[in-house]
Subunit: 113 residues, 2 copies
């Protein structure tokens, strides 16, 4: 990358999607996955920006984990920021709820079969 | 099949699942599919038991269509009955809504991106 200051991160900043531009089918496909559902549930139980990607208890490797976060970003459910060497996360509760009322509540409820 | 009366249907009657026994992940996985989403939407616009499986405008073959209906039955979203040579359908609105409040409304709304 030309003109990049020495010492800056070598990763591109994460790209985000506004939930308003996401279809129901895209949103459902993103959350209909056991790993991503677990990521969302763990994230929901944490303060914004306190969880790095490596802090989640999911049984997948680093590349797969990165893909899962990318899918969640892509439907506007997760926002990410690079803080030093870590990429930290928050759940976009209000924006996602405004676009898909009730869906996040369903994902997070504890009475699952 | 022994003791089956002559002239009875040769297909086994469809097996149904109570939505109360379905997990959120199972329900989401069932509806996070373009063909099944279309089946649900078409069915929602029809009177109960008026739509045979062959009457839906979806771009899949007979075996795939049968599989898609089986998935929808398996999460308690569709009920099926054999009437003569036809298998007819209804959407289990109330039961599914009781188990997954708001989800059917999301599936059926027209403001999709």
């Amino acid at each position: 990358m030309p003109n990049q200051p020495a010492g800056s991160g070598h990763r591109a900043a994460p790209v985000h999607t506004d939930p308003a531009e996401v279809s129901v089918l895209e949103a459902l496909s993103a959350v209909a996955d056991p790993v991503r559902l677990q990521l969302v549930r763990e994230l929901a139980g944490s303060e914004d920006w306190t969880r790095s990607c490596g802090s989640f208890d999911v049984p997948v490797g680093k590349a797969a984990l990165s893909h899962h976060f990318s899918v969640l970003r892509g439907v506007g459910l997760v926002e990410q920021r690079d803080m030093g060497a870590k990429r930290v996360n928050r759940l976009r509760r209000e924006e996602f709820e405004a676009r898909f009322p009730g869906l996040l509540h369903l994902l997070l409820r504890a009475d699952d079969a």
